[in-house]
Symmetry: D3
Subunit: 160 residues, 6 copies
């Protein structure tokens, strides 16, 4: 079998993959990413967080809501009925910055890696937005798939 870009048809045109014949299975995807910032920025967010938690809560909620919008953002993604999306954010003094992990689950015909990656990206963008007045130089980096299970292609785990 020849491997190829599944979203291009024989004429080279972008099209949705037909998932009509795929089986409904339990599918999980986990993605991660970081936002790197100055030490002072990290401290200021963590102090705000100590009081009310709203910066990280906003980023977590934005990530979850964005996962539900994935098929509106990515042209050839299928709409699907997510069973769950979760977003975890932890401070990392060594970056310095935050590490974001998102997990998406579905019982469906198509994988959820785009939903997990979208949640990570938008959570990072939300942190950027809320801290940009004090640090315009933040960088979003290392947005990638960590693990994926369910579906014909089998279990995938990123090698560290």
């Amino acid at each position: 079998m020849k491997m190829g870009l599944t979203h291009l048809d024989s004429g080279g045109q972008a099209n949705m993959v037909d998932v009509g014949e795929k089986a409904e299975t339990q599918r999980i995807a986990v993605a991660e990413g970081c936002i790197v910032m100055r030490d002072e920025t990290l401290n200021m967010i963590l102090e705000g967080n100590a009081q009310k938690g709203d910066v990280l809560a906003a980023a977590r909620i934005a990530g979850i809501m964005a996962a539900k919008k994935t098929h509106e953002l990515i042209p050839l993604c299928h709409p699907l009925l997510l069973n769950k999306v979760s977003v975890d954010i932890s401070a990392d003094r060594d970056l310095p910055g935050f590490r974001i992990t998102a997990a998406a689950r579905v019982t469906g015909k198509t994988g959820v890696e785009m939903e997990a990656l979208t949640a990570v990206s938008v959570a990072c963008l939300t942190i950027y937005d809320m801290a940009k007045a004090i640090d315009r130089g933040m960088t979003i980096t290392g947005v990638q798939l960590v693990e994926k299970s369910g579906g014909k292609s089998g279990h995938y785990r990123r090698d560290e």
Copy 2:
């Protein structure tokens, strides 16, 4: 003047910044980012592109459309009337992968860096989506603000 997180009010709660008193000025923001992939993946996309261009066209259009949705994705972003969004994608054999640059322009009371960063992120995610069947290990990296002008905070250019 005390610098702080502009999106947290005195009680530490997330809130939109009031831009009612800000002046309407010409504002521009440029952001960049990369998606790194295997050599074979890059080749396969470029070959598809040689024929019909749909992979990169889809990513470019998705990035532009996402910029227009920024205020729906980022909880505390203001809606605004974008004058223009452009997304440029160029292959880089050294990554290997693609470099994405997005520029957003507005005549308004608030900056457009989130729009440019969102366009870059979603263009990268779209390339990931279209090539993920052949390369699940791609990474989105270096998503950051390159330049910003207009508004009270003056001109910003990232130091290389």
Copy 3:
């Protein structure tokens, strides 16, 4: 079993409930609410309605369309495939104002009370919008769940 807020995980963070293990059942929810206004306002809407019905038709359609958007509005709601949404609006001279009832149905893993409540709320807001030029003092009140069936928690009917 300890009852608790299902949308907070053990760390107190907001997250979607995982519905992956829940059974697909027929689920129905009915919600109600009122908008209270001055007698003259009610009369003016009813006269308009006698002619063309557009005020109440607009409110009914807005409620149905909003029910389909519930998962975009409520951060931790699951997307679902609604089988039906209906919105009924009846004038009540004693309020004076309108009583709105909405019913939502789904064959799915999660209840539809939020869809019914969202339909009622947006139908009320639409009536407010269309009559606000003559009566800014209208109040939306008594928005609540009337009945719910399907799912593990069994049948619920509000006590009058």
Copy 4:
């Protein structure tokens, strides 16, 4: 001048009001509403809140994001460039429940009362969603305009 339903044209059909001739002024609207619940429910949310604040943070963010979607939800509302939306939520032991206040500001041709009312409604619905597993009998009540300024119709303040 004959007062009437501004959203119905002479044929009784629903239509947007033409705001092309209206002046751009600073406009503010404040709306309020309550969600009434059992004492135990209130306690459980407040305890969760003592830890991480996510229930009320989610409701506040959902309210702000919904205000930005008002013109998508209410058929005849105009799109507008909100300068600011804020949502405040305070516990009230006497209800028992929460009191929600939302303020919206714009420099524009049309008022923002629908944006403030929509923010209140969706913040209430979000609290309902997050606590519904322990209390299906909660009621959203007293959703109304508190104050409005800017525009031709002058200043409005609700009489208590």
Copy 5:
């Protein structure tokens, strides 16, 4: 001056036109279209309409709401602050079917012909949806710009 496709840049890539330098003027566009159906279908809708008007009310509201979504549907359209959208639908026994006319108005930097055309298209699609159970052969036809004013390109009126 060389005329060309304004949405393609010098490299042939799709991009938004920069409207930053354009003047804010009063702009109006009027579009029209028809949906042609069997005589019986027209009669059945008109009878329903005689009672409650909901088919045509739904189509009119759907058209207005779609006009507000134009920039989300058409990739390179600019978001704009519509002053007014109106949709008129009249039965035409000679088609037989309905004639739809939509007008859009804005004070802005870019024309509103796409908003008027989108309103007509979605109003037609809504009529199709509501009558498709009795007539699958309906055709949407003659969707075109009737008139346009404001902006640098001057007044346009379609020749009959």
Copy 6:
């Protein structure tokens, strides 16, 4: 059995049809439409296309994305999990202009003709948008259902 407008209930009010009792089957719908333009306009698009393909790529992607939004545009359409949407565009010198065909597939309880028709309409509108600076007189015409299979009503094929 009396045939009637399925979206009107016994009181003549618009409502969603309840699809809860319908069987999940494989459903396909194919729709078509044209956009007619001047010869020069067609040539200019085709030349642009020869280089980079972005005009038709944009129209194809816009059509696919719009199909996924159908239930947000058409008030009484059900949300559904599309298996695939494809949009094909071919130049026709005899029109002169483009012929657009869209196919939608679902495994579900309700047909996908509205999704196919919406894809065709928005693809046509996108071509109009990108060429309107050189030809305001283009007309969208012949938007209709070509074929439909799956569901209780059986196979439908339009007679030529």
